[in-house]
Amino acid sequence: MKSFVKIFGAFLILLGVGAPAHAELTIDVSKGIEVGGIPISIAPFGGGAPEDIAGIIASDLKRTGKFTPQPQDARADYSVTGQANAGGPRGYVVQFRLAGAQGGQLLNLSFDTPPNQLRPVAHRISDLIYEKLTGEKGLAGTKIAFVTAGGGFWVLVVADADGTNPKVILRSRQPIMSPYWSPDGSRLAYVSFEGRRPQIVVQEVYTGARRVVSAAPGINGAPSWAPNGQRLAFTLSKDGNPEIYAMDLGSQNPIRLTNSNAIDTEPVWLADGSIVFTSDRGGSPQLYRIGPGGGAAQRLTFEGDYNAKPTVSPDGRYIAMVHRRNGRFYIAALDMKTRQFRVLTSGGLDESPSFAPNGRMIIYSNGQRMNAVSVDGAVKQDFALPGRVRDPAWAPFGR
């Protein structure tokens, strides 16, 4: 059984001469339905709010692959009802109730909110329902950063996890690459080619303030934050070829961690301070691991002829990567516990994987569009956003 679910998102792009064009947000959760999403009925919210709160909740829950929203009054294991009425100290009062099949109440909450926060409140409700019924934190309220380009500019965009509400936080006439969120979600490190040379910049998302943290001769690339938020790892080629460095953000003094004649790049941190990175020291690009202070590298990947751009699940269990076999590029995941290696996507030009903060989903670019896949390969999402989406990065929980 293969069924595709299309959701026509309320996602508005302004194109050309002002006629608003609607892009559809297409979400394929076929395999999620196959394994049996939990049926949940979500009744339209009364009260006449300017957002379709029930529709947003249904879309959020469907996208997890764990729920199958049902029409009102259909048989379901759980039901959601609610109201969004004008009033209260902030403009609107949103009240909702989650009940089991026998009518037993599981959640009953209300929010005072200004009208422009109705959509975030709907995402918050989705996450409360998801967490109550699955025991893990939901992603509906999280954010995603990505790079796209057009009209002679590169832009760094921060959007909601469903692809709506895009905000251009940086616009440049030179390439922007490799955004990476700080662990508290307040800053983004990225590569900017402003001045026609690569530099690593840290930008405060909520103030727009930015600081160049590395502008060495040669490559300044692939920044990633240490779990404690105090250090960055990145790639410099100032000593002749690309090597991995770590730098205390207070010190401005990068410490070199690798020493090979090959390409070493794309470092990411594990919780214990060790670093996983891409290196072609063995002939083809593969993932390796070094200790917090460098030292001997241990090879982690052996499948296929190309494994690069690691991203680590928040619990450290999985490392997802770009994987090539027979000339096609896939997203694959290595289970660090069982050493099982699993190819997750159907392949093509897949690149730039980034783990969601709950470890369930991996967002990536298929060379054209932003996609997401669950770490078991069962749930797939396809986002139709304007422009070619590059380097998507899923923000941590927080704020």
Binding site: L15, S172, E194, V201, G208, S237, L349, R388, D391
Partner: protein, 197 residues
């Protein structure tokens, strides 16, 4: 004509982009001007603009995909799917490479040798070698691969008597393709080093 239309659309969407700050879902509405003032220009004075999240424009231009070439002042456009409009880096300053390779092909030697002779006889001239890759594979690994290509051209030049101080290297990886298509012919045009004076 199509070009004029595209330019008009680009201008219109820029204007829209500016006005969006005041029409977005934000209650913290700002005019385009204040948004610009509140943004932070980059320290080196380049054409880059950041915005606080709460005042950031909520639309961006995706018309016809981007981009100047790497090659100095030259302008070059491509659409998202291909269709190169113009390429002003002349052929005698481009060296092409095989997939996954930084080896100099025999047919590229005359191009490098001609440029090396010019550089060796004019010690004051400084050139920039810009390394590029096709779009396949990881973006940051491609930055490293583009640098490796530029370095192999540089090494060849130095071997021919060019001073190392005359040759700078920068890699753009897959970020500035010469051809926008997703086919072998476009990929072959994108795997290159451009010699920029």
């Amino acid at each position: 004509m199509q070009y004029v239309l595209r330019t008009l659309i680009a201008a219109a969407s820029l204007a829209l982009l500016a006005s969006c700050a005041s029409t977005g879902e934000n209650t913290e509405t700002t005019t385009a001007d204040t948004a610009t003032q509140q943004g932070v220009a980059d320290p080196s004075g380049q054409d880059v603009q950041s915005y606080p999240y709460g005042q950031a424009p909520d639309a961006y231009d995706t018309s016809g995909g981007v981009a100047q070439t790497s090659g100095g002042q030259s302008g070059q456009e491509f659409s998202g799917q291909g269709g190169v409009v113009g390429n002003t880096v002349s052929a005698d300053r481009i060296i092409y490479f095989d997939y996954d390779s930084a080896n100099i092909r025999a047919e590229s030697r005359p191009v490098i040798e001609a440029n090396s002779r010019a550089l060796a006889s004019n010690r004051r001239t400084v050139t920039q070698l810009e390394g590029h890759t096709d779009e396949r594979g990881s973006r940051e690994y491609n930055i490293a691969l583009g640098e490796r290509r530029a370095n192999s051209v540089r090494q060849y030049m130095v071997g021919l008597g060019v001073s190392p101080q005359q040759v700078r290297v920068v890699s753009y990886g897959e970020e500035r393709p010469a051809a926008g298509g997703q086919d072998e012919q476009s990929y072959a045009r994108n795997r290159r080093v451009e010699i920029v004076y």
